[in-house]
């Protein structure tokens, strides 16, 4: 019988709700913006081969590992990975490995919610007709304007910050309603809506005809371009790494969110069928819908060559700088609908993911420190705000990219590798396989057991090592016993600030050119001053524009030749490396603080257990 005042423990409302919430956790911006770009850049239709191989040896096994470890830890009342992993093996190490599953969510949410707020704003602007009559250059400029937080775009002061705060407030409010009252409701309405919006846009994109509404190619040609296989690319390890990375990020493994959601299941409730359903819903959204929207529509209007160029700027650029202009070609009403549907589905994809990021943080506070649900939701919201504001204010200085690299890439790969090792080699693959199959409503193929024991952990170790010391341009033929040059994006390369260039001091009196060429323009744009250096004989596409402030003194003029490392302007200068290192210190501090909280909670639990034993 329930005691007076005792509130019900958290639980999912329905099975379908749980699966949709898990699918929503997985479905994110990457399904629509990263997958198609990765496919275009890595062999088109042939990319699906390494993608499917990675799905089978990495993605699905990690899903099964995370669902089962979550349910296992939930048995003991734990809903966050430090103590879930601590329940699987008594070695102290695993509790602190579990810190990744709280840290990653806090750090990723802090910039992910900022992205989410962009989509919120673009839904508003699409419906209000802000983009009506704008050229492509003006639409791209609108986005640059938006990111410059002190500039208002259409009468809302500090618009980027206003939408960020709104977005955080919405996330916090939904999280305060709990699993069934909040997250599940959003998933049950949002995920089907996302699919409907996706189908509408995919249908519209694929049925576009050359010559109609300004299209120069049929939409179907864009789709065929993405799916035409280039089998030569399969010999390039870079393509296999890209596929593994895409599968990894698309399923949202390595974060601790799946373990948290699954920890609210009872011991004998199915996870095999639930995990497959959620996983394949994500794959449907990615492979079918994701490939049918931005590439067909943009190829239809811009042609293949231009779209390939634009994909080098990434899917975010294509989404925010280009798509609103392309939708405008469909007329006022259809363009408003298309903008609402496109940015609406991105917003739903984002919020279902950010809500998932909140739950392990809340679970940690509620389980280990007995916080109430509302207070822990508020703590999550406020922490994300504090951590997130540097990504808003110092976006141009590289803070956003830094968070994305360490929290959104390195943490995930590291944690996934360690949890696979724990599951397969410490908890035990036999025990783990029994755990996965307990209460299962489908029979999983037996080969998964051998994948879990031998293949997945080894594949993840290889991926981690490859990311740690990737050779320059991911050219693996350069590997040799006498050493090799590291790629700038390798983990070790990042630690060493490889590729930072001549402006490698935090503070300086002069700013040095980072390319060779000629000063071909000194100009103002949106009240900011720039000096542009273009390599000799090259087009302006390859030039580099350097922003300088009112108090800086230019040392060169138009026509001057410049060499890498020569001073461009003087004055009081704070270089990007300062912001990059401050971001790293902040993230490290957050990781250490969570570790300290785990230590305190563990000590408290231990002394409670000893006290109980003594009383007996």
């Amino acid at each position: 019988m329930k005691k007076l005042g005792q509130h019900k423990p958290e639980a999912w409302g329905t099975r379908v709700g749980l699966v949709l919430a898990m699918a929503g956790n997985a479905v994110g911006f990457g399904n629509f913006l990263r997958f198609p770009v990765q496919a275009v850049q890595n062999g088109g239709g042939a990319f699906i081969i390494p993608y499917l191989v990675s799905l089978v040896i990495l993605g699905l096994p990690l899903l099964l590992i995370e669902w089962s470890t979550g349910r296992f830890g939930g048995k003991f009342g734990h809903h966050s990975t430090p103590f879930i992993m601590g329940s699987m093996n008594k070695k102290l190490l695993w509790r602190y490995v579990g810190v990744f599953g709280v840290f990653s969510n806090l750090a990723i949410a802090s910039y992910y919610c900022y992205l989410e707020s962009w989509t919120m704003s673009y839904v508003y602007h699409s419906v209000m007709g802000t983009f009506d009559g704008l050229s492509q250059f003006q639409v791209a400029g609108f986005f640059d304007n938006y990111l410059d937080v002190t500039t208002s775009t259409t009468g809302i002061p500090y618009e980027a910050i206003v939408f960020f705060l709104l977005c955080l407030a919405l996330n916090t409010w939904i999280l305060s309603k709990g699993l069934s009252g909040g997250i599940e409701k959003v998933a049950k309405i949002g995920v089907p809506m996302l699919i409907l919006f996706g189908i509408f846009l995919a249908w519209r994109g694929i049925t576009m005809k050359a010559g109609e509404q300004g299209a120069i190619w049929d939409g179907i040609q864009g789709l065929n371009f993405l799916w035409t296989p280039n089998f030569d690319s399969l010999g390039n390890p870079k393509v296999w790494m890209a596929a593994a990375g895409q599968v990894f990020f698309t399923l949202s493994v390595g974060m601790g969110t799946i373990q948290c959601y699954a920890s609210y299941l009872k011991e004998k409730e199915d996870i095999a069928l639930n995990a497959m359903s959620a996983g394949f819903t994500n794959e449907f959204v990615e492979i079918v819908l994701g490939s049918s929207i931005i590439i067909p529509i943009s190829v239809g209007y811009l042609g293949i060559d231009r779209v390939v160029e634009l994909t080098n700027l990434g899917g975010l650029g294509l989404a925010f700088r280009t798509m609103p202009f392309l939708f405008e070609q469909w007329g006022t009403i259809l363009s408003a609908l298309a903008g609402f549907a496109f940015f609406g589905l991105l917003f739903i994809a984002g919020i279902t993911s950010s809500l998932a990021m909140g739950t392990p943080v809340m679970g940690f506070l509620q389980d280990e420190f007995k916080w109430k649900r509302k207070s822990s939701a508020l703590a999550f919201g406020l922490s994300v705000l504090v951590l997130g504001l540097p990504t808003v204010f110092f976006f141009q200085q590289g803070v956003f990219d830094e968070y994305d690299y360490w929290a959104g890439t390195v943490s995930l790969v590291t944690f996934a590798m360690l949890e696979a090792i724990l599951f397969a080699w410490f908890f035990g693959a036999d025990r783990g396989w029994k755990e996965i199959n307990r209460g299962a409503d489908i029979k999983l193929p037996g080969f998964f057991k051998y994948l879990l024991k031998y293949v997945t952990p080894v594949a993840l170790i290889v991926i981690f090592l490859a990311s740690f010391m990737a050779p320059v341009n991911n050219d693996w033929s350069k590997l040799s016993l006498s050493g090799w040059e590291l790629d700038n994006s390798s983990i070790l390369g990042k630690f060493m600030h490889k590729g930072v260039g001549p402006n490698d001091a935090y503070f300086a009196d002069e700013f040095y050119a980072e390319n060779n060429g000629v000063v071909d323009s000194i100009y103002q744009l949106r009240k900011k001053s720039y000096i542009r250096v273009t390599p000799v004989g090259k087009s302006s596409d390859e030039s580099k524009s350097y922003r300088y402030g009112k108090k800086h003194e230019l040392l060169l003029t138009v026509g001057d030749k410049v060499r890498l490392g020569e001073p461009l302007y003087s004055g009081k200068i704070i270089n990007n490396i300062f912001f990059i290192d401050m971001s790293r210190m902040l993230l490290t501090t957050v990781f250490l603080m969570i570790s300290l909280m785990v230590f305190i909670a563990h000590r408290r639990n231990k002394s409670k257990d000893q006290h109980k034993t003594q009383k007996q």
């Binding site: 639980a11 409302g13 329905t14 499917l52 789709l223 799916w227 409730e269 069928l273 449907f284």
Partner: protein, 36 residues
Amino acid sequence: MSLVWMPVITLTVYFFWKILKTPKNEEPDSFVDNDD
């Protein structure tokens, strides 16, 4: 393209159909909506 799309769509629909068709467990589950 359809070589990939069809199995993905088929498997997704199959898994959801299986969830909807699978009878509830005899012992109490964790789902709030199934509470008496």
